[in-house]
Symmetry: C2
Subunit: 436 residues, 2 copies
């Protein structure tokens, strides 16, 4: 039974707040294990990677076989069907086209005082992408992480993907090839994050690490943050659908279930002013759910976190949506643009009934790595800019320094920083004919 709320009920605010603060993630404290794994990799390098991969992934590696070699990659990729290869190529092309538009521009201008100011963007030199192994080894995720890095101009792009029991996903290797990845290592877990952050004999360190992973990977990313850059630590996924009008209940039910099948901790929310539509969608969910191969996962998610909220109108729905700040927001209404303009906090918006969220997971073009757990209030999905950084630039003429420098001298004195003041004042003195 999903959660049913209505803004017309007197206790709505309390129940909505309780839904919002529901803790969906049960993050085990793995910090001690992760700390010791990282120390081991820093101390013993490749040797630690070999030992840890034997223990956790049950694979016998050597320093020489940590990296996939070219022939092996080619042989694996040859196993991919033509249909899958074509689909992955379309996805890669569309993701590349979308992200190419994100490349930020440098700026430079000279102001009336004679200061030439601006900034320039440069890519991170080397980036490492973590790709989970086994079941959660998603080729789409490789594209979504690697392509923005390549578009940004990252020179060296590394993937770490574990091969539990020797299991390799050919589609992951094909996705890496389509995205232009340079090096692929068959290691996983906290040891892979440590290797990318600190380097080993075989694996040179990178500057930025992105990509999803389990609790160990997440803890390791937190641990190495500062030494390298990391992306957001993603929580369980969520979708919010706002619906009204002539919508197909089966489609909406499938969209809710597509979210639910990701993970038992995922959350699917429907908000609508139309009680008949809400009831029809819930019936469809119940009809379809048992037929899904991942019925157990999707059923647990729907039962524990699925939520249906009845509102007075769409304005009220938009207000609630902003409080939820959903990762994915589907607007299945007659005028989705008008409704989108009334919302403010969401990772990605899917406008209209012909834009199911699932198409965005693969081929529409925007990134599917998005802020979860209400963090769309203050953060954005993965983009080209996550693999670049901005350097601010300033050049003053002597005249410009003479004009604005004295104010810096006054403020430095206020803050008690005398060498700051002198470094400006000594130059101005030289300009005014004093000794330099």
């Amino acid at each position: 039974m999903p959660i049913h709320l209505s803004t017309a009920e007197p206790d709505f605010q309390q129940r909505f707040a309780a839904m919002l603060s529901m803790k969906r993630e049960d993050s085990a404290d793995v910090n001690d294990v992760v700390t010791s794994i990282i120390a081991d990799v820093r101390e013993r390098g490749d040797e630690a990677l070999v030992d840890l991969s034997g223990r956790f992934d049950r694979v016998a590696l050597t320093p020489q076989t940590l990296a996939f070699d070219k022939d092996e990659i080619a042989a694996q990729i040859a196993l991919v069907s033509d249909e899958e290869r074509a689909a992955l190529t379309v996805a890669a092309d569309r993701i590349r086209a979308y992200h190419a538009r994100q490349l930020p521009e440098d700026m430079e201008w000279t102001d009336p005082e004679g200061a030439t100011l601006g900034w320039r963007w440069t890519p991170v030199s080397a980036a490492g992408l973590y790709v989970p192994g086994g079941q959660a080894s998603y080729p789409s995720s490789v594209l979504m992480n690697a392509i923005p890095a390549r578009v940004a101009g990252v020179e060296r792009l590394v993937i770490c993907v574990p091969t539990p029991n020797g299991q390799v996903n050919p589609l992951v290797l094909l996705a890496a090839q389509l995205a232009g990845v340079d090096e692929i290592y068959r290691i996983g877990g906290a040891q892979a994050i440590a290797a990318m952050a600190y380097g080993t004999e075989t694996i040179r360190p990178v500057d930025k690490i992105t990509g999803p992973g389990n609790a160990y990977v997440a803890a390791a990313k937190r641990h190495v943050f500062g030494r390298v850059g990391i992306d957001m630590i993603a929580g369980p996924s969520e979708v919010l659908i706002i619906a009204e009008g002539a919508q197909n209940p089966e489609w909406l039910a499938l969209d809710l279930l597509a979210q639910a099948e990701h993970d038992a901790d995922a959350q699917s929310i429907l908000i609508t002013p139309d009680k008949a539509l809400a009831d029809a969608v819930v019936l469809e969910v119940e009809r379809i759910l048992p037929t899904l191969p991942r019925a157990k996962v999707a059923g647990a998610s729907w039962r524990d976190y699925g939520t249906v909220i009845l509102t007075r109108d769409l304005d009220e729905a938009a207000t609630l949506s902003d409080r939820i700040a959903p990762e994915h927001l589907e607007l299945c209404v007659d005028d989705p643009e008008a409704l989108a303009a009334k919302t403010r906090h969401a990772g990605a918006i899917f406008l209209g009934g012909w834009t199911p969220e699932a198409v965005g997971d693969y081929v529409s073009g925007p990134n599917h790595v998005l802020p979860t757990a209400r963090s769309a209030r203050f953060s954005s999905g993965l983009s080209v800019m996550d693999f670049m950084k901005r350097t601010t630039m300033a050049r003053l003429t002597p005249e410009a320094l003479a004009k604005i420098g004295p104010d810096a001298v006054v403020l430095a004195a206020s803050e008690g920083l005398s060498a700051h003041g002198l470094s400006v004042a000594s130059r101005i003195r030289a300009l005014n004919g004093g000794q330099g």
Copy 2:
């Protein structure tokens, strides 16, 4: 004695690597204290803030006096001299003009398949700025944090600044007024961060927290990260000066000392191919150092971390600079633009001998909150975009879904996510005349 290196020496690489990995920060582990302070504020709200401010800041507050009131702010601001007011106003205006150019643009386009794609930027709703009390209470820092937030369009802007022993800095209040801050609370430490992240009876929670602070503040920011957004946790400040040609040794010495006087953990580095210039600068540093009011701090920094590196030429200097990835990079050479083009990793670049770093701390316009400790390899200084987030947008026509949807269905099947595939396929089936 600063560290002297030369790329001509056989052990240069080892000594340079040792200099790079020098640990300048001695971060005490304050996590347990911070965790209990945060729990206290979450549980007891205003009452905890009153108690903790009494204990740590030795001030007797009540829930009613947590916020500065209008009359008090006006009375304090009236104490500021005209000269300081004018200088702070110039700084605010110049910082605002620079940051106004950072406002990112929304994008929307329709691709050949009929997918309308793009993104839009929206501001964070509420931001909180931490301002240290006492000695480190810098009005310039208020401007550098608050103005980008206001330019971004943040609706509610809050400052927390402790008043140890009741000490108030009128310039901080004036800077807050010039920047357009809405609420100012006289609380500090981990309790201020907890109040802004979780809210109390008096202080509504914010979505993003920025600003410098001591070890307790830094630990508290790490702790609340995820609940709210935070800026980078800054390490000790650093400057790298690359110099050659007819440079004034006194100016360079003052620029090195301006960095050193910030903090005993700060680092000042000079790289030059010109041994005579290096020697002259070191002599100037030694001459000026004892005359500074902050000689003790600056002397400790110069003695422990000051570094002079002789190189073969400027190209080699640029290569070393990229390995250091300095927070501040001063290019005191004849053609600073050419040298800037050869570097890649720096928080801010100051071009030419007339652009001392100190002018950038106050009035040149770019932000002075910059990446430290080599993090300019992967991160940027504070900007308007830190107070905004990007929502990706997609709208497909039925025809567009018919064209690209089948590839999503193939990839969903590869990843074993059947509801994903069905959510797309059921729509395509309807288009093709099947049942919706």
